[in-house]
């Protein structure tokens, strides 16, 4: 049953571009981007129990590093993604190491992740070489053809790229969850002191979670940069973006593999539908989408704190 549902889902996603116009395609691309970013964030929070509210930092780093490499040195994103991921992993590891060394835990750790993201936002605002507050722009070319090396081409190409990324990350996370590292992450999440007494090296396991989550998030940032072509520090490093990233996995189900995907499938179209309705009625609707996201989040945390997917799974045969 579960397997069939999975195949149907994969089939739908594979065939979707054939039946969708440009609007639906861009909606689906956004949906998959949030599924991907949520999955990457979920490694750190859902698997290893470390709440980061600064994941925009890694999206922004990935985006800016790859965009700068492409703009100033002509290094295509297919190569630029590696230094981008490395930069994010390095920054994530540094934050992880500092928090471990100085025993910053719980709420304080979360505040630390916010603080670093905000510092990055303010720093990039002042980096005039990278456009500062004015933004950094990638040249927009004719949206046709398929150039995977430079990540230029048809919207359908972008759709399949992010679909492949999301699917690969899903499979990778499934393998990770069943690996020794995955179990050690869960031990860290459940009870660090008990985990340590069973020989789990907390520092190593925590750094692995943060570095991997950061690097994968940065890869998502590279994709997003070349999809939208315009980078602004306030948007790409902002707290609002960090919060948007965590919505899908929380609503879908923290620490589950399907959670981030299900959350994105539910949320993104909901947001679009609400915007469409209010626009259609001619209402002044700035803020309506995040407002509804807030209501959804509230209802989920209050009534289904484990998320929607675990509730569905329980009823599956």
């Amino acid at each position: 049953m579960k397997r069939t549902a999975l195949f149907v889902l994969i089939g739908l996603f594979l065939l979707a571009p054939l039946a969708s116009g440009p609007y639906l395609l861009s909606l689906l691309t956004t949906l998959l981007t949030f599924a991907y970013l949520g999955q990457a964030w979920n490694i750190m929070m859902g698997f290893a129990g470390q709440l980061s509210l600064g994941h925009a930092l890694y999206v922004g780093l990935g985006a800016y590093v790859s965009a700068a490499l492409s703009l100033f040195w002509g290094i295509p994103p297919i190569l630029g993604v590696f230094p981008a991921m490395a930069a994010a992993a390095l920054v994530g590891s540094a934050i992880g190491f500092l928090s471990f060394r100085f025993a910053v835990k719980g709420v304080h750790f979360t505040l630390l992740t916010i603080a670093f993201a905000e510092i990055a936002r303010l720093t990039f605002q002042h980096l005039s070489a990278l456009g500062g507050t004015g933004g950094l722009f990638l040249p927009v070319e004719a949206r046709t053809g398929v150039d995977l090396i430079h990540l230029r081409g048809d919207p359908r190409m972008f759709y399949y790229v992010i679909l492949a990324m999301a699917a690969a990350l899903f499979l990778a996370c499934r393998a990770l969850m069943a690996s020794p590292l995955g179990y050690r992450w869960q031990a860290l999440r459940e009870d660090p002191a008990a985990a340590e007494s069973l020989g789990v090296n907390l520092l190593r396991v925590k750094l692995a979670a943060i570095a991997l989550s950061a690097a994968l998030t940065a890869a998502g940032g590279v994709f997003t940069a070349f999809f939208y072509n315009a980078l602004f520090p306030d948007q790409w490093f902002g707290l609002g973006y960090s919060i948007e990233i965590i919505l899908a996995p929380i609503i879908g189900g923290l620490g589950t593999l399907f959670g981030p995907i299900l959350g994105a499938i539910l949320l993104t179209p909901l947001g679009e539908a609400i915007t469409a309705v209010t626009d259609g009625l001619g209402w002044q609707s700035a803020g309506i989408k995040p407002f509804c996201y807030g209501v959804c989040l509230l209802l989920i945390v209050k009534f289904l704190p484990d998320g929607i997917w675990p509730a569905i799974r329980k009823r599956l045969p």
């Binding site: 020794p180 009870d191 020989g199 090296n201």
Partner: protein, 240 residues
């Protein structure tokens, strides 16, 4: 009998309050030693120092001659120390089998070998029927068993048991005692146990060490120790 664990002059204070002062004793290879003393005698503090949760202010702790002072808990685990916690700490959202698997992953690097080891240990403590249940759903005696199984799965040379019998019914205590005796006999596992349930201490221990107010009081055979007037005065006499 070779010495496995050796403590010398171990001293620890918290905010000027001496929890342990100049404590020294040994546990031999294959030996089961009961560590007893009234509440607040400093037994759990001693355990935490052996397991590397915090270092002693002074003194040495050696395992087969290797200094354990300054090691972190995961390093003492690697050195061969397995422990349980006084207040049980299962991983509640993981299954019983997964709980034990995490310990087993310390002894076996390969996933399937670790799974096999986890299953063996679960069978040993009699929890195999509950392997697929979430640990959070277990009863207290089952949680205690799970905690022991998890520690055993790391393949320790010395097992530290912190009041695993507390809260068990007499027949459950006897089952636990039987498990530890068998392990000791068949695998040569050494055990240091902090315990208030005298029935278990008397049945298990080869030797008993008594501490009182953070200081070493005496040591000897269980039957001798319980007759020692100093022990009766500080401990057995002190309790109802």
């Amino acid at each position: 009998m070779n010495t496995l664990l050796e403590l010398q002059g171990v001293t620890k204070s918290f905010r000027g309050l001496k929890a342990n002062e100049d404590i020294g004793f040994t546990v031999g290879e294959g030996e089961i030693v009961g560590l007893i003393g009234p509440n607040g005698a400093g037994k759990t503090t001693l355990f935490n120092m052996i397991a590397g949760v915090f270092p002693p202010d002074r003194g040495t702790i050696r395992l087969s001659g290797r200094d354990l002072v300054g090691l972190k808990p995961h390093q003492t685990c690697a050195a061969g120390i397995g422990r349980t916690f006084q207040i049980v700490r299962p991983f509640p959202h993981l299954t019983v089998a997964e709980n034990v698997l995490i310990g087993a992953l310390h002894a076996e690097k390969k996933m399937h070998a670790a799974r096999t080891r986890a299953a063996e240990v679960l069978a040993l403590v009699g929890l195999d029927a509950k392997a697929a249940q979430k640990a959070g759903t277990l009863t207290l005696p089952e949680r205690k068993c799970l905690e022991v199984a998890r520690a055993l799965a790391t393949r320790p040379r010395l097992l530290l048991l912190d009041e695993v019998m507390a809260g068990l019914r007499p027949n459950e205590t006897d089952q636990m005692v039987a498990i530890f005796r068998r392990l000791n006999r068949e695998t040569g596992l050494s055990i240091l146990l902090v315990e208030h349930v005298m029935r278990a201490v008397m049945a298990l221990s080869h030797r008993v060490v008594v501490i009182n107010s953070g200081r070493f009081l005496c040591a000897g055979l269980p039957a001798d120790v319980v007759k020692d007037p100093r022990v009766l005065e500080c401990y057995l006499g002190g309790e109802d």
